[in-house]
Structures are given as structure tokens and as C-alpha cells.
């Protein structure tokens, strides 16, 4: 029972802070709420017997990516969302059309919920098939990652390299050596 309480607590924090991320105009707060959301998500990962993912979530997302966001927000120092009037020169650029996206998101939730209701076997508890030993074993994780998924790993490393070079090139001021 405390398990389910923890779950609802974490899930609640997660959903609410995610909603707050998109719910206001100040990107600084958005970033901070997202960090909170990620922390809650890390908690969910721990509950799913994936402590390594949880830690990685904190290190990579909260510790690196979000700092980067924060850095950019501070660097640009233009935190408040433009309160400028909508550009209404085109029917597809009016706010009403933009809100269709939000409506679609709601539709998506309904669709996914419906899909879940139809799939009965997904109602089983997550731990019903196996114990936590395998999934929480970091050694096992490393073996699979560097053995079966070695190519994907290497490809990802190249992606990171390319992204790094690309980011440097893009963010550099023109004329800088």
C-alpha cells in the first residue's frame, strides 16, 4: 500500500509540475519545474527497479541538459514570453488554430486511454512476471548495452560528437576565430 501511495505522490508531482512547465510564461520557472518533474520521474524509475536509469536521469537531464537550458535562459536574458499580439495575417497563424493542437493532445490522451482499456493484459502489475533482480542489475545492463547494442552505442557516440561540433559552430558568433 505505501507503494501505491508513493506512486501516486510521484506521479502527481510529475504531472502537475509538467503541466506547470507549459503553464506559464517565464521560462526560468519552466526549467525549474521540469527539473522537479524529472526528479519525480527518477523516483518512478527507482520504483520500477531501475536505479541506474534514475541516477542517469538526474545526472544527464537534471545535471546537464537542464543546466544548459538554464544557462541559455540566463545568457539570452529574455525570459518573459513575448506578449506581442498574434500575427493574424494568415488564417493558420491565429491563436485559435494553435489551440487546436492542445485539443488534439486531449484527444490523444483519450485515444491512449481507450487503447489501454482494450488491452486487458496491461492491467497486470509491473512486477508480476519477474523479480527485480535482473532489471536492477547494473552489471547485466552494461553487458547488454555493450554487447547486443554495441553498434547503437557507437552510433550514438558519433551523434553526440556531431551534435557537439554542430552546437559549437551554430552558437559561435560570426567572425570569431
Amino acid at each position: 500500500m505505501p507503494e501505491i501511495v508513493t506512486f501516486y505522490l510521484l506521479a502527481g508531482i510529475l504531472v502537475v509540475s509538467s503541466a506547470l512547465v507549459i503553464g506559464q510564461r517565464n521560462p526560468m520557472y519552466s526549467v525549474l519545474f521540469l527539473i522537479v518533474a524529472f526528479a519525480a520521474l527518477a523516483g518512478l524509475y527507482i520504483q520500477l527497479d531501475a536505479p541506474f536509469v534514475a541516477v542517469a536521469q538526474i545526472i544527464i537531464y537534471a545535471g546537464a541538459i537542464m543546466v544548459l537550458f538554464l544557462f541559455v535562459v540566463m545568457l539570452l536574458n529574455a525570459p518573459q514570453e513575448d506578449a506581442a499580439e498574434w500575427d493574424r495575417t494568415h488564417p493558420l497563424r491565429r491563436p485559435g488554430i494553435a489551440r487546436v493542437g492542445a485539443v488534439l493532445a486531449g484527444v490523444l490522451i483519450l485515444q491512449l486511454a481507450y487503447a489501454l482499456v482494450r488491452a486487458n493484459e496491461l492491467q497486470a502489475p509491473v512486477g508480476s512476471q519477474t523479480g527485480p533482480a535482473i532489471v536492477s542489475n547494473v552489471r547485466e545492463l552494461g553487458k547488454v548495452l555493450f554487447d547486443r547494442h554495441a553498434f547503437a552505442f557507437e552510433a550514438t557516440s558519433i551523434l553526440i560528437l556531431v551534435a557537439m561540433v554542430g552546437a559549437v559552430v551554430l552558437a559561435r558568433r560570426e567572425g570569431e576565430s
Binding site: 493558420l92 497563424r93 493542437g101 488534439l104 484527444v107 490523444l108 485515444q111 487503447a115
Partner: protein
């Protein structure tokens, strides 16, 4: 070895075409002549090789490489030397060499780059002509066939700045295209019928079947090939380009439009003697066309005033005689005449070139006269060649022409024989007229307008009382060719005169069939002798008529023209054939092209379709592009909409 023969001129062409503009005339001209001489030397060598072989299998083959290889057609770029092509390469390289040498003097007034261009064309022509002659299959021959057509076009239009020259070049090219098209169709028909395009293969295949008595596929194929030949060899109906081709430099007229290229059609028929003799219908057509062309061209030649045009019509006429020979199955006689004709017609053209050269571009014989004394070498060689073409016994033209006449008669084509005899008479007449008007009498115009008809930049009006005879290079060519005009006929000395007709024996395996005429038979010998007498009579009669009218009673010519004014105009205007073609073919095509195809089809339908497509797209885009807002959000929205719809579809399903 065989590949070397066309290769030398090709090298000469490449060098002159790429480096020529930087080379002095002596180098570029010398190089071109040297290339031809080398080619000639190789030709003599291979010919000698051929002589050393047994008569039945005198044939040298060389496959250079596989040109095309597809499912059921493997086509090597192969050359084949047999007695027939041996004769041809000797004529082409031999006379070609002489004309190259002659040209170094004749074209000397051109600037370096033009000079090199001329020789590069000339070499290229020689290379293609040799490919045509040596090719062992229709496609290879066709490469040469097209190539010489191209060179002919380039050389006729050599002085392309002159409108008439460039028009003449185009005319030659376009008229030749018609023939070439028929040639391609003929090739395709043969391939469809026999599955091969090799000359020997076709001959063997066609040897398996009986000659067609009705008008079958072999007849169609040969007729198409013959149409190709009429284009290249200037026969009715496609002969009109040849007289106009005289716009080119005179040596070109001599080489291409008299001695070699225009005989390609004759050669082609000779090459496929077996094939053609399996299509009697076609053969008859060939003979009739040849005879009519011969007579018609001879009559036109009688009244023309341009020295080169007279020779051009003479060429057409002689080619007609050759086709007549081919048509009656006297392939040997036809080739024999081709061979002798090459000598004296080249000599005549080069002689006329010497005259034109001396007179700084004057070509109208009415403005000539009395040149006998001033241009002795030119006169003597020209006269010898004239006698030869007129058919005076003892010279080359007599033997070959007489053989044609005899064979025609012996084959039973009496009417054709009569036409040919008449042609001979006319030939003797107009050739003598040409000599009398040019070389005898008094100079009729002391100040010929140097209108640069042949020489773009003459020497201007300096002392015309003293004319220069042919320079050494030209004289050499003239003399050699004059000797040839006398002696060339003796290799075909008929049996009736105690000869052995070496040429016939030599050519016989090449035709792959025994000539219908059994030579040396006693009853024919007497016939031949009597016909010879008639020929001789005709020749002298022709000369006599000319002598009477144009040497002794000059005013008679004018009064005759007065008396038969309509006929005279008809002949002078070449039977209005050009006008006829213009009215019946050229103008309708123009009208249809301009009004129908261009303004109607192209502008309305094709352009309409293209522009319509464009307008449709741009119109549609003008509407659709409104969807492209440039806003990322809109794009993401459409994408997300797709996600929801697809997911919804799968859930609802």
C-alpha cells in the same frame, strides 16, 4: 595492317584539327599529303599481299574490336580486303594523294588556320571513305557512308561565309539524309530477313534462296539500298545536290564529287552483287534509272556555261552509266568504268581548277577561250582526259564505256543500249564543246571579273595577258592523272581485242557469281567488235559535231539556241527539276512545318501542354502555398493531426 589505311588519314585529321592553326601551311599540307601517301603505300602493300594469294580466297580480314554486342547482333568493327575493295582503296588513296598534293598549291592563298582546316577535312574524308570501302558489314560501311557525307558537307561549305556555298552544303547534306534514311531501312530489312549484316553473311544467306521473281523483301531491301545509293551517287531523283556541290573548292569536287565519294553507291551495289542479282526487279530499276540519269545529265551538260557545272553534270551522267552497268548485271564493267572515270574525271576537275586558278576565280566558259597557248600543261592534260571520256579508242574511257554498252546490248536491253549510246554521243559533244570554248579561239573577256567565285581573295586585276600555268604540285597531279587516263583502261582490255581483261578476272571472286556474259565466246566477240566500231563512230561523231558548231561555226550555236529556244531554256534550267522539287516537296514541307507543326502543333499543343502543366502547377501552388505559413507550430500541428488520425483509425478499426 588494314586498320592502318584509314588510321593514317585519321591521324592527319586529328593533328591538323587540333594543332593545325598553329602550323605553317607547308607542315599541315605536307602532313596531310604524307598521311595519304602512307595510306597509299600500305594499300599497295596489302594489295600485293592479295595478289600473292590464290584467286578463290583472296580476302584479308581484320577485326579491330567488338563494336556492338547484343543478344542476336554481334557487330565487330571489322575490315575486309578483297579484290573489289582493293581496287577501291587504290583509287581512293592513289587519286587522293594526288589531289592532296594538288591542293597544297591550289589552296595556298588561304590563311594558315583555314588551310589546316581544309586539310583536316580532306584527311577525315579519306579516313571515312576508306572505312566505307574496307568495312566488312553494312553498319561499318554506313559509318564511312555517313562520315563522307559529313565531310562532303563540310567541304562544300568550306567557304561558309559565302551564302551559296553554305546553302549548297546544306542541300547536299539534306538530300543525302533522304538516301541515308532509305539505306538504314534497307539495312534493317536485310537484318530482319537474314539476321546478319556482314556482307559475306548476307551473300551466303541470299545464295541459299532462289532469285525473287516478284517484288519481295529482298527487292524492297535492295531498292531501299539503291535509294541510298542514288543519294550518295547523285542519281535521279536525288542528284540535284551534286551540281550545287561545285561551290566547294575544285580539288574537293575532283576527289569527293567525281572520283571517290559519289561512286560509293556504285561500289555498294558491286559489294552486294549477289544480293542485287537476287532481285531482278530492282536491277531493272537500277538500270533504267542509271540510263535516264545519264541521258538527262548529258543533255543538261550540253548547254551549261560554268566549267565546273559541265563537269558535274558529266559526272552525274557517267555515274548513270555505271548504274546502268550494275543494273544489267555487268558489275565488273561498272567497277571498271568507276575506276577509269576516277582518273579522267579527276584530271578534268583538276584541269578546270588550274584554269580557274590561273584566271583568279573565273568559272564561266563564255569568258574564256584561247587558253591553249598560255596554259599548255593544263590544256594538254585536259584534252587527253576529254578524249578519254569521249570514248576515243585507245584511251581508258573507251574500254570501260564500251564494255558497258556491249554488256547492255548483250543482255538484251536494246533501248537502254540506245540511250547509253546517245549519252556517249552527247558526252563527246559537250566535253569537246568545253575544250573548244575554254582553250581555243580568242580570249573573249580580257578583264574577267575576279568575283572570287572560287578564290576568296584573288590577286586582283593585274596583267592578264600573261597567265601562269599550273604550279609544279598541280602539274604533277595533272600529268599523273593524264597518264592514268590513257593507260588505266588497258587492265580491262577486252578479249575481243586480244586482251585478257585482267580486271574482270581479278574482280570476279569479289562478286561471288559468274558474270552472265561469258567472255571470250566467239559469237560475242564479233558482236563486241561491231559494237566497238559503233562506239568509236559515236565518239568521233560527237567530237565532230562539237568541232563543227563551237570551233568552226561559232555563230551556229547561238542560232541553234534561238531556233530551239524552249528546249534550250529547258536544258539551261536543268529541266526545272530544282524548281519542281521546291514546289512539290520543299514548299509543302515548309508550309506544313511552319503552319501546321510549328504554329499549330508545337506552339499550341506541345507548348500548350508544357505551359499548361506549368501553369497548373504554379496555379495550384499559389493556392497550396497559403498552407505554408512559415510557422513551425502550424507544421507541427498538421503532423500531430496525422498522428491522432492514424492512431484513431487503428483504434476504431
Amino acid at each position: 595492317m588494314l586498320a592502318l589505311i584509314p588510321l593514317f588519314p585519321l591521324i592527319g585529321f586529328v593533328v591538323n584539327a587540333t594543332l593545325g592553326r598553329r602550323l605553317p601551311k607547308s607542315v599541315s599540307g605536307g602532313l596531310a599529303s604524307l598521311a595519304m601517301l602512307a595510306s597509299f603505300a600500305v594499300s599497295v602493300t596489302v594489295w600485293w599481299q592479295l595478289v600473292g594469294m590464290p584467286a578463290e580466297d583472296r580476302s584479308i580480314d581484320q577485326v579491330v574490336y567488338t563494336w556492338l554486342a547484343s543478344d542476336d547482333l554481334t557487330l565487330p568493327l571489322a575490315f575486309r580486303l578483297d579484290p573489289l575493295s582493293a581496287v577501291m582503296i587504290l583509287v581512293v588513296t592513289g587519286i587522293g594523294s594526288l589531289i592532296h598534293i594538288y591542293s597544297t598549291a591550289y589552296m595556298h592563298d588561304e590563311v594558315d588556320s583555314e588551310f589546316a582546316r581544309y586539310f583536316s577535312y580532306l584527311n577525315l574524308f579519306a579516313a571515312f571513305m576508306l572505312v566505307l570501302v574496307l568495312g566488312s558489314s553494312f553498319p561499318v560501311m554506313f559509318v564511312g557512308w555517313e562520315g563522307v557525307g559529313l565531310c562532303s558537307y563540310l567541304l562544300i561549305g568550306f567557304w561558309f561565309k559565302k551564302q551559296s556555298a553554305s546553302d549548297a552544303g546544306k542541300k547536299a547534306f539534306v538530300v543525302n539524309r533522304i538516301g541515308d534514311y532509305a539505306f538504314i531501312l534497307g539495312m534493317l530489312a536485310l537484318f530482319a530477313r537474314f539476321g546478319t549484316l556482314d556482307f559475306q553473311g548476307v551473300a551466303q544467306a541470299v545464295g541459299q534462296v532462289e532469285p525473287e521473281t516478284s517484288f519481295g523483301i529482298v527487292s524492297i531491301a535492295t531498292l531501299l539500298l539503291f535509294i541510298g545509293a542514288t543519294g550518295k551517287s547523285a542519281q535521279i531523283p536525288l542528284y540535284t545536290w551534286l551540281p550545287d556541290a561545285m561551290e566547294g573548292p575544285t580539288p574537293v569536287s575532283a576527289l569527293i564529287h567525281a572520283a571517290t565519294m559519289v561512286t560509293a553507291g556504285v561500289y555498294m551495289i558491286g559489294r552486294n552483287a549477289v544480293l542485287f542479282s537476287h532481285a531482278p526487279e530492282t536491277m531493272l530499276i537500277v538500270a533504267v534509272i542509271g540510263a535516264i540519269t545519264a541521258l538527262m545529265a548529258a543533255t543538261i551538260g550540253l548547254v551549261q556555261n560554268d566549267i565546273k557545272r559541265v563537269l558535274a553534270y558529266s559526272t552525274v551522267s557517267q555515274l548513270g552509266l555505271m548504274f546502268l552497268a550494275m543494273g544489267v548485271g555487268a558489275f565488273g564493267a561498272g567497277i571498271f568504268h568507276l575506276y577509269t572515270h576516277a582518273f579522267f574525271k579527276a584530271c578534268l576537275f583538276l584541269g578546270s581548277g588550274a584554269v580557274i586558278h590561273a584566271l583568279h576565280g573565273e568559272q564561266d566558259i563564255r569568258n574564256m577561250g584561247g587558253l591553249r597557248k598560255q596554259l599548255p600543261i593544263t590544256f594538254s592534260t585536259f584534252a587527253i582526259a576529254t578524249i578519254a571520256i569521249a570514248g576515243v579508242p585507245g584511251l581508258a574511257g573507251f574500254f570501260s564505256k564500251d564494255e558497258i554498252l556491249f554488256e547492255t546490248f548483250a543482255e538484251g536491253h536494246t533501248i537502254l543500249w540506245f540511250v547509253a549510246a546517245l549519252t556517249s554521243l552527247l558526252t563527246a559533244t559537250y566535253m569537246s564543246r568545253l575544250v573548244y570554248l575554254t582553250f581555243f579561239g580568242q580570249r573573249r573577256n580580257d578583264a574577267p571579273a575576279a568575283h572570287g567565285h572560287d578564290h576568296g581573295h584573288g590577286h586582283g586585276a593585274h596583267d592578264h595577258g600573261h597567265l601562269h600555268d599550273a604550279p609544279p604540285a598541280m602539274a604533277l597531279a595533272l600529268i599523273v592523272l593524264a597518264i592514268g587516263s590513257i593507260a588505266a583502261g588497258y587492265i580491262g582490255l577486252p578479249h575481243a581485242l586480244g586482251g585478257h581483261n585482267v580486271l574482270h578476272a581479278w574482280l570476279e571472286p569479289a562478286f561471288g557469281l559468274h558474270e552472265a556474259v561469258a567472255e571470250g565466246e566467239a559469237d560475242h566477240a564479233s558482236l563486241e567488235l561491231s559494237l566497238m566500231g559503233v562506239s568509236t563512230l559515236i565518239a568521233f561523231a560527237g567530237i565532230a559535231i562539237a568541232t563543227f558548231i563551237w570551233l568552226w561555226r561559232r555563230e551556229l550555236a547561238a542560232s541553234l539556241a534561238q531556233t530551239f529556244a524552249p528546249l534550250y531554256r529547258l536544258l539551261l534550267n536543268k529541266y526545272y527539276v530544282d524548281e519542281l522539287y521546291d514546289a512539290t516537296i520543299v514548299q509543302p514541307i515548309k508550309v506544313v512545318s511552319q503552319q501546321g507543326l510549328w504554329r499549330g502543333f508545337d506552339v499550341r499543343i506541345i507548348d500548350g501542354a508544357v505551359n499548361g502543366t506549368g501553369a497548373l502547377v504554379s496555379g495550384g501552388s499559389a493556392v497550396l502555398r497559403r498552407l505554408q505559413t512559415g510557422s513551425v507550430r502550424t507544421y507541427a500541428g498538421s503532423l500531430f493531426m496525422g498522428v491522432v488520425v492514424v492512431l484513431g483509425y487503428y483504434l476504431w478499426r
